[in-house]
Structures are given as structure tokens and as C-alpha cells.
């Protein structure tokens, strides 16, 4: 695949702060218009991966590796160069729309300022386009919402504004970091459907970060599973979810309700993966999942398994399909 066909190619991405390394050599590619899900337990480095790509890491954090996008390597670009891309060729939707919107500026201004900055529109033209955008994302009374402040809107409305901001300039790639987690269950589906439709209409690629596997099954074509800063399994959604290879992915799938294991029995609980994600400062040697893995062998405890087997690859010495070394 040549670079021009891909919305993004991430190679050996490291994100760290001093001795801490939150992301340890992550690689993936999303073709133009493709949709990849990124899953993993809390603290596995999903947000750090996204912020590293965007060049928006918190103070003190830095990124290593390469991120090819739109013909350039984003790693090493200056803040000024990145500012010309953010919101235009690559954009991001954050988890909590209340804290992510400026509380003292009208949401209309927040949307039109993006259009004016990147597309050089007049104030009137930007406002007209903002109203169009609001109609596309099903906001009622777009003219009123244009003049509203974030605190005057509902959570679902605010997140739709964030989506409008991310989509305003028809970016090649949209990164959505748990875009529905902060919302009421009742509006999650609606917001997701709007995001899905608007992304599809623009032909943008999507990197969807979530804990929610059904969301990925519904809207993504590929998925990468992260554990302790690494991608441990990746491949087409249908294959990974139907025949997971890595033991962690298996556990993750088993801990989620599906049509097969769903239970209306109030006392029944799905089997959670035992143990906890190791802290960054205290990663075990070998496969970082081994303290929690039922299939762990002596090999697992001492040597890091390599990532093998594209297009459906996994980093496991004893994958569930029996392709690796015998346990």
C-alpha cells in the first residue's frame, strides 16, 4: 500500500515522560476512509497514543517513532506546522464535551472560528456553514444553539457540537476518544449514529477509541487491542471478535455481554479478567499479561512474545488458535 492511500501509518510509536513509557512501540495503518477500533482496559495507553499522534500530549510527555499522514511525518513537526493540520486534515473528538468546550464563548463562535481559521471564510459564510453543520448533526433550532453557551446545552448536544467541530473541515482522519462514555445511555446510540453517518458522508477515516466492543463491531472494519502500552492483537473486526488469538482479547470478549452469553438472571455475572493492569512503573518481565493469564508458561514469564501473523496478528507465545509454541 502506498502512503497516499492511507489516512495514517503509525510505526513504532513510543510515548513517554522521563522513565515512564505509556506507549511502547505501537504500529498500525488505517487506509483512507477505513475505520479502526482501539480497545483495552483503562490505563493501557489508548489516549496517549491518540494525543501523541495529534501532538497534544500533556507537558513533559514526548513522542518517538513515525506517524505518516498526508505525505508528512507528524512526529517532529513544530507546533505551528501541526496547528495547520489539526482540525483540518486530522481532528479529534474528546470524551467529556462539557470540559472540552470553552465555557465563556458561544458555541457558534467555537465552530465558526475553526472554519474561518482553516478555510479562510468570511464571518457570514462561516456562520452559514455552521448552521448547515448543525442541521447535519440533527441539532434542533440551530440558530438558537449557535448563540448558546455550552452550559445551556445538554450533554448530547454538546458532544454533537464537538463532532461538528471535528468534521467541519472534512478531515482525512477523525480520532474519537470514548466519544460517548460521558453521555447518558439513552443518547449514546443517537450520538454514535450521527458520528457514524457524518464520517461516512465525508469519506473520512476513523480511529475509534472505546471500552465498548459492540460499538466497534457495529461501526469499525478493523480493531487493535492494547495492553500495557502495546498492541497485542489486531485484525479485521469479524476475525478478531469471532476467533480471538491473544489470551487477553479472549478474556476481554468473555467479560462483555453478547447475544450468546447475555443473561437476564440478576445474580449472574460475566467472568471478569482476574487481576489488574500492571502499573507503568512496574511492568513484569516477558509477556506483560502473564500474571493474569491462565495459559502462561515459563517462556511467557521471561520473553516478550513478538507480534506475528498479519492480517490477523497477535503477540502471544500460545495463541488460542494453536499457531504458536505448545504451552
Amino acid at each position: 500500500m502506498s502512503g497516499a492511500d492511507n489516512a495514517i501509518e503509525v510505526r513504532d510509536l513510543f510515548v513517554g515522560n522521563g522513565d515512564l513509557t505509556a506507549v511502547q512501540g505501537v504500529s498500525f495503518t488505517i487506509p483512507a476512509g477505513g475505520r479502526m477500533g482501539l480497545v483495552g482496559e483503562s490505563g493501557s495507553g489508548k489516549s496517549m497514543t491518540a494525543l501523541g499522534i495529534m501532538g497534544l500530549l500533556p507537558a513533559g510527555w514526548h513522542v518517538r517513532g513515525s506517524v505518516r499522514h498526508d505525505g508528512v511525518d507528524l512526529v517532529g513537526q513544530s507546533d505551528r506546522q501541526m496547528s495547520k493540520r489539526r482540525g483540518r486534515t486530522i481532528s479529534m473528538v474528546f470524551q467529556d464535551p462539557l470540559s472540552a468546550l470553552d465555557p465563556v464563548r458561544r458555541v457558534g463562535r467555537q465552530v465558526t472560528s475553526i472554519l474561518r481559521r482553516h478555510l479562510d471564510l468570511s464571518a457570514a459564510e462561516a456562520e452559514r456553514q455552521a448552521l448547515d453543520l448543525f442541521a447535519q448533526i440533527n441539532l434542533p433550532e440551530p440558530a438558537r444553539i449557535l448563540r448558546a453557551y455550552p452550559h445551556e446545552l445538554s450533554g448530547g448536544q454538546r458532544q454533537r457540537i464537538m463532532i461538528a467541530m471535528a468534521l467541519a473541515c472534512y478531515p482525512q482522519l477523525i480520532i474519537a476518544d470514548e466519544p460517548t462514555t460521558a453521555l447518558d445511555v439513552t443518547v449514546q446510540k443517537q450520538v454514535l449514529r450521527i458520528l457514524d453517518a457524518a464520517v461516512r458522508e465525508r469519506g473520512s477515516a476513523l480511529l475509534m477509541i472505546t471500552h465498548n466492543l459492540p460499538i466497534i463491531a457495529a461501526i469499525c472494519d478493523s480493531v487493535a487491542v492494547m495492553y500495557a502500552g502495546r498492541i497485542v492483537e489486531a485484525g479485521p473486526v469479524a476475525q478478531v471478535f469471532r476467533t480471538p488469538r491473544h489470551r487477553y482479547t479472549q478474556g476481554l470478549l468473555r467479560s462483555q455481554p453478547t447475544m450468546d452469553n447475555i443473561s437476564f438472571d440478576a445474580g449472574a455475572r460475566l467472568p471478569a479478567i482476574p487481576g489488574m493492569v500492571p502499573p507503568l512503573t512496574d511492568l513484569p518481565p516477558g509477556c506483560p499479561f502473564h500474571p493474569r493469564c491462565a495459559a502462561a508458561s515459563a517462556l511467557c514469564r521471561t520473553r516478550m512474545p513478538p507480534f506475528e501473523g498479519a492480517p490477523h496478528g497477535a503477540a502471544c507465545w500460545h495463541p488460542a488458535d494453536g499457531a504458536g509454541e505448545a504451552p
Binding site: 474528546f94 481559521r117 482553516h118
Partner: protein
């Protein structure tokens, strides 16, 4: 918005009433028999009674209070027991020193603190930011009177550029009046600036870590643009609050600076009148300062309403 203004206004008036009652009662309680105190230990009972009758001190407290407040509202701050001078006249001649001193000191403090605080926040964790932080710490540790004395030694005594004390009224020579204020304002302003730098720095640091600043960057602003266009507008809220909190520092500093530079301001007048047991003069001028402080806080509430749309819905 209207509801918010109405509430703050009601609070403003309530605070005025409460503090005037408090001042009145405190001074009476501390003073005991006012006429006896004014005349001193050797005065005859007849003389004391005569003075009490003349100034209406024998009337019930409530009547005296209402009389005092009524006078204040119509611009009559009462009269001195000893000289019979109008307190209003006494105060006006002092305000032409104290008000420019306090306002210019505060302005200079802000002119120092806002850029220095932003600089220190943006360079947090770097030597340059730490250096500004250190300067601010030094400024906080130095007492105002010490800064005043050092500055007057340097610019007044050593270099001889500016007067080290004394006052020429504006009406006599405005340039000379201004010159007399340069060193006092510099001392007051730098110390206030040092104190406020710390607050501005932490307000800006706090805002820089907010999600909405990251969103501004995610939608195409550079880090500096996001800070200046989005961050500062939000940081203005805590900074305005700090100005209100600095009122005590400002008034205390003004008192000390008037002493150090022997300026005939309000502070020196109050102290002299406390010593002379001029109850009415002290009571009225202290009340005047309280009105000023409460009014500044009212203005700050109004600034909040302008700066923060969330306040306008009442809170």
C-alpha cells in the same frame, strides 16, 4: 442577568448596613462615654455633660446611629470635637493623596503581575520561569516599608532624582505632586505585583491544563494562540477575584507607605485622630474605607457577570 445584578446589589446594601452598625457599636463599646474620653481624665462632670448635649451624645444609640447615617448619606461626615472642622473637608483634602496612591499602586501591581505571571506559567519547569517565581517570593517576603525605605534611599538620597517624602498639593504644582507619588507608588506597586504574580501564575497554569485549551489546539490554534485567545479569557475570572482579595493588602500597604514617605493621606489622618480620640472622625473615615472595599467587591461581582456567562443565570 437582571436577577443576578439585583441579588448582588441587595447583598451590597446589606453589607453596608451590617458594617456600619458594627463600626458604630464597636467604637461606642470601646469608647464608653464618648464625651468623657474626648475631654480626658481631668474634665469636670459638667463639662462632660455639656459636650454630650452639644453633640447629641446623650440621645439613645439608635437615634445617634440614624443621625450619623443620615449625615453620611447627605455627604456630611460630622465634625471634629476639638477643632469643630467638618470631617468631609478633612477627608477630601486627604483623598487627593490616598486615592491616586492606591489606584496607581494597584495598576502598577497588575501591570507587573499579569505579564510576569503568564511568563512564569508558560515557562514553568524551566529556569526562566523559576527565576520569576523566585523574584515574586522575594517580593512577598520583603515588607512594604522596607521596599519604600530602600527605594527612597536609592532614588531619593543616593541619586537625588525624586523627593523622599512630603507632599505638594495638585492645585499648587501637579508635576511636583506626581513626583512625590513616584516612589510611594513604585514601592506599593512592586510589592503588590509580587504577591499577585503568584496568583496569576497559578490561575494561568490551571487554565493551561484545561480540556478546552486542548480543544482549541486540536482545532488549529498554536499553544500560544490557545493560551492568549482562550486561556486568558478564562483566567480573567480567578485574576479578578484576586484583585478583590488584595484589597486588604492594598489598604494596609497604603497606610505604611503614607508613613514611610510622610504623605498627608487618609491613613495618617485616621491614626492621628485615633490618638486624639476623635471618635466621630475615626468612625466616619473608617466607614468610608469600608464603603470603598465593599464597592470594589460589588464591581468585581459585576465584572464576573460580564466575563462568565454561567454567572448570569444567577447563582
Amino acid at each position: 442577568m437582571a436577577l443576578y445584578i439585583f441579588r448582588r446589589l441587595a447583598f451590597f446594601l446589606g453589607a453596608l448596613v451590617a458594617s456600619s452598625v458594627a463600626i458604630f457599636l464597636l467604637i461606642r463599646a470601646a469608647g464608653g462615654n464618648v464625651a468623657a474620653i474626648v475631654l480626658g481624665r481631668d474634665a469636670s462632670p459638667d463639662a462632660i455633660d455639656a459636650l454630650a448635649t452639644e453633640y447629641g451624645l446623650d440621645r439613645p444609640l439608635a437615634v445617634q446611629y440614624l443621625d450619623w447615617i443620615g449625615g453620611m448619606l447627605s455627604g456630611d461626615l460630622g465634625r471634629s470635637f476639638r477643632t469643630n472642622e467638618s470631617v468631609t473637608d478633612l477627608v477630601t483634602s486627604r483623598l487627593e493623596v490616598s486615592i491616586p496612591l492606591a489606584l496607581m499602586g494597584l495598576t502598577l501591581g497588575l501591570l507587573i503581575a499579569i505579564p510576569a505571571g503568564i511568563f512564569a506559567a508558560r515557562n514553568a519547569g524551566r529556569p526562566s520561569g523559576a527565576f520569576v517565581g523566585l523574584l515574586s517570593q522575594v517580593g512577598i517576603a520583603v515588607p512594604v516599608f522596607w521596599a519604600g525605605i530602600l527605594l527612597s534611599l536609592l532614588f531619593g538620597v543616593h541619586l537625588g532624582w525624586l523627593p523622599t517624602g512630603g507632599w505638594t498639593p495638585w492645585s499648587v504644582d501637579p508635576v511636583q505632586a506626581l513626583r512625590s507619588l513616584v516612589l510611594p507608588v513604585l514601592s506599593l506597586g512592586t510589592i503588590l505585583g509580587a504577591v499577585m504574580t503568584r496568583y496569576v501564575r497559578s490561575a494561568v497554569l490551571d487554565v493551561m491544563n484545561q480540556d478546552y485549551v486542548r480543544t482549541a489546539r486540536a482545532s488549529g490554534m498554536t499553544a500560544s494562540q490557545a493560551l492568549l485567545q482562550v486561556g486568558l479569557r478564562n483566567a480573567a475570572l480567578p485574576i479578578v477575584t484576586v484583585i478583590g482579595l488584595q484589597m486588604a493588602e492594598l489598604i494596609g500597604g497604603t497606610v505604611i507607605i503614607e508613613m514611610v514617605f510622610s504623605l498627608p493621606g487618609l491613613a495618617r489622618m485616621i491614626l492621628a485622630n485615633v490618638a486624639a480620640r476623635e471618635v466621630i472622625v475615626v468612625q466616619s473615615t473608617v466607614m468610608l474605607i469600608i464603603v470603598f472595599v465593599i464597592f470594589v467587591n460589588f464591581l468585581i461581582d459585576m465584572a464576573y457577570a460580564l466575563l462568565d456567562p454561567r454567572t448570569r443565570r444567577g447563582r
